[in-house]
């Protein structure tokens, strides 16, 4: 199967084309089987290819299928590759993607545009698989832009709704800013290496040693890495380009789960991890990645504290967790970042799908203030969502505990000109863990516990169909066991099997050794992290279940802070004032009114008006009076003769007549 790796991305593309072209008149069942069938087959093919790859024991599988661009000494081909990092990504994308497809058949059953939805969703799968399988930056960029396109289409799925189509545009435009950086980064890399193939770039460095001018604090590599990270910031919603992700919740919930939680938004992390060799040679860029990731994690978590829309809370939580992943990459723990990427894909997809199930049960209600006491009525949704919450909050033995723990450990141990930076990153990461536990349990308590705050006569709460519950349960199991690869770390002499699996990719860059002192440190940090998570959850319990009146009091006493958080630090307003308004002003007054209306239209209309005016003046010579024509004939003859005989500027011929 490995030789036919191209089948894996091709199947969803076929599904997309079939549903998009012919699906409109088909009943939902056929559309379902095409969509689920193509992604499911793709998942099976991927599994088989992975099995073959792992069995063969090779470090890297690389195959050139055809040349796409050839110009001079530049070649960009449709080349796919598979290594351990790709294995993780491909399985997460196809596996979680397939589950979400199944869920969506239940969730979207009554929607208009059913086949359009699945066509877009399959198209997304195609581009995402291209992104993770690509063997060069150019092909990766194709997938990168393609998932952006699918994301735009799916956010604006309800395109008749103004807010949805606006959110789609916002996502697309904000991503353009990042992509601009990404392209510049690619150009810089090409200038430095004369190629954009991953292997050619990565091995050229290790084999021949870095040219001095490439490394260093402000070398080409630092800039290239920072520019690529700018692209990652856009795609993975990091400061300052995160603003599109919360708005992207306008899309249908399965889209939020698949694209804006589990897969697409992690593309930035994947790119940074894929380019880890470059980043390892650019310590300044690494530090920037770590700081931006950590700051985003904390910043987004604080906003998540006060949001009341169930999906908005999860959106800010996603931004925050992506920050964790970048923090891991920034401190050099790439495998920890990818580990968190994987566990996050499980539990965050589950959270979104469960939230979708809640919304489904409540007949479209998304405000947690109008829910409450749902735990008995939708028991399975409640249990699965609770599992995911325990996982994201970092309770052992759920998946999030292990991945988050290894990130915090790496941050704690990291060294950049002394240990203080590492301690600061660790402290902020720990604070974020506290906030995470608090806002997630706040969400659970407000939604499922406490008094019922909705009108039972209007809302008929009902559990979701099996097609929606089955993926929830599978993901719930994964959210528990997904982290156990790393569990043996806590046993004496145990190994982190996930990191070991990724060893061939990230190699010697990772800090080695989990013995002795490090082992006890690890245990202590884990205990601290667990205590913090427990504290956050208990505080949420106290504030929202035991003493609900205290919550209002707290809001009143912290009024300015509360309103600031509720308005998301006024970042959108600030961007509107600093970027959008001036741009609109320039577009309206300079480009539209000055350049277009006055300049271009003015020139065109001016020529027309001028011609009319000249004609209007000249027509008076056409008097219709025969004698005046006679005069003109004579005048013309005189002028011609005068020119021929008295031409003052030398030269031998005038009007073709030899003088």
């Amino acid at each position: 199967m490995l030789e036919y790796l191209w089948i894996v991305p091709l199947l969803p593309l076929l599904g997309s084309a079939v549903n998009g072209l012919f699906g409109a008149k088909w009943p939902n069942k056929i559309v379902n089987s095409v969509a689920i069938g193509s992604t499911g087959l793709s998942f099976l093919f991927a599994l088989e290819a992975v099995r073959e790859f792992v069995d063969s024991g090779q470090v890297l599988f690389h195959k050139e299928f055809f040349t796409w661009i050839a110009a001079g000494n530049f070649r960009a081909g449709f080349d796919l590759q598979m290594d351990q990092l790709t294995v993780v990504m491909v399985l997460v994308v196809t596996g979680v993607g397939w589950l979400i497809h199944i869920y969506a058949t239940g969730y979207m059953a009554h929607e208009v545009g059913y086949c359009r939805f699945f066509s877009y969703l399959n198209l997304f799968m195609f581009f995402m698989l291209i992104l993770v399988l690509a063997a060069n930056y150019v092909l990766l960029f194709v997938g990168w832009e393609g998932v952006g396109l699918s994301s735009y289409l799916l956010i604006g799925f309800y395109f008749l709704k103004k807010s949805a189509s606006d959110a789609g545009k916002k996502a697309f435009i904000v991503n353009r800013i990042g992509d601009f950086g990404f392209m510049l980064g690619m150009f810089l890399l090409f200038r430095a290496f004369q190629t954009l193939d991953f292997q050619a770039i990565f091995t050229s460095s290790t084999l021949q040693g870095w040219p001095v001018e490439l490394s260093g604090h402000l070398g080409t590599l630092t800039f290239a890495c920072l520019l690529i990270f700018m692209g990652a910031c856009g795609k993975s919603a990091q400061l300052p380009l995160y603003v599109w992700l919360p708005d992207a919740m306008e899309g249908p919930t399965p889209v939020s789960a698949l694209i804006h939680a589990a897969t697409m938004v992690t593309a930035g992390v994947y790119v940074v991890a894929r380019s880890h060799i470059l980043f390892a040679h650019a310590p300044t860029a690494m530090l920037v990645v770590a700081i931006v990731g950590c700051a985003t994690a904390f910043f987004a978590a604080t906003i998540g504290l006060v949001q009341t829309d169930i999906k908005k809370v999860l959106a800010y939580s996603t931004v925050s967790q992506l920050g964790y992943m970048f923090l891991a990459c920034g401190v050099g723990a790439f495998s920890a970042g990818i580990f968190h990427l994987m566990t996050h894909a499980f539990f965050k997809a589950l959270l979104f799908l469960a939230a979708g199930s809640v919304i489904h049960a409540m007949g479209g209600e998304q405000d947690v203030n109008r829910m409450g006491g749902l735990s008995k009525k939708i028991r399975w949704t409640y249990l699965t969502m609770l599992t995911a919450t325990l996982a994201i909050a970092g309770f052992p033995p759920f998946a999030g505990f292990f991945s988050k723990d290894s990130i915090l450990l790496s941050a704690f141990q990291s060294e950049y000109r002394g240990r203080n930076v590492g301690y600061a990153l660790y402290g902020l990461g720990l604070a974020t863990a506290l906030l995470t536990a608090f806002y997630m349990f706040r969400l659970i308590f407000l939604t499922f516990h406490g008094k019922q705050r909705y009108d039972e006569h209007h809302v008929h709460v009902h559990e979701s169909p099996n097609s929606m519950l089955a993926p929830l349960m599978i993901l719930a199991v994964l959210s528990v066991v997904g982290g156990w690869f790393a569990a043996p770390v806590f046993l004496p002499g145990g190994t982190d099997y996930f990191a070991k699996f990724l060893q061939p990719v990230f190699g010697g860059l990772e800090a080695a050794g989990t013995e002795g002192e490090v082992h006890s440190l690890e245990l202590w940090l884990a205990v601290i992290a667990f205590a913090i998570a427990l504290g956050g959850a208990m505080f949420a319990h106290w504030l929202y279940l035991e003493r609900p009146e205290k919550a209002d009091g707290l809001v009143k006493s912290l009024k300015p802070a509360y309103t600031t958080l509720l308005n998301k630090y006024y970042v959108d307003e600030m961007y509107a004032a600093v970027v959008v308004k001036p741009l609109l002003w320039i577009s309206t007054n300079v480009l539209w009114k000055a350049a277009d209306v006055a300049g271009i239209d003015g020139a065109v209309n001016g020529i027309a008006d001028g011609t009319t005016a000249i004609g209007d003046g000249v027509r008076h010579t056409q008097s219709g009076n025969t004698r005046s024509y006679a005069v003109w004939v004579v005048v013309g003859a005189v002028v011609v003769i005068a020119v021929i005989f008295f031409w003052p500027f030398g030269g031998k011929t005038v009007l073709g007549v030899v003088r």
């Binding site: 219709g624 009076n625 025969t626 006679a630 004579v634």
Partner: protein, 100 residues
């Protein structure tokens, strides 16, 4: 022998009279005659130069001009008769259908 410049001066005078009449006369037949006058003034110049230079080219041209003038007279007079019939006038000032 009469010097060539006399002929040329006479030709210029005749041509000038022709132009003058062409512009200022109102009667269409007079205008027509002034055109003939100009043509013949040019003929005179052609013949004079032909004799002065000892070449026959000028005289050949004159024959052409006479033929063209005859054809022009035939067409022109036909037009004039039509105008006279349709508008009962020979005054060019009143033949102004093209006027805006």
């Amino acid at each position: 022998m009469v010097p060539t410049n006399y002929y040329v001066i006479l030709s210029a005078i005749l041509f000038g009279l022709g132009v003058f009449a062409f512009i200022f006369k109102r009667n269409i037949i007079t205008i027509f005659m002034s055109i003939e006058l100009m043509l013949n003034a040019v003929n005179l110049a052609f013949v004079a130069f032909s004799q002065a230079l000892g070449k026959l080219d000028g005289q050949v041209f004159v024959l052409f001009v006479i033929v063209v003038a005859a054809a022009e007279a035939a067409v022109g007079l036909g037009i004039i008769i039509l105008i006279a019939r349709n508008r009962q006038t020979l005054n060019v000032e009143r033949v102004d259908l093209l006027k805006l």
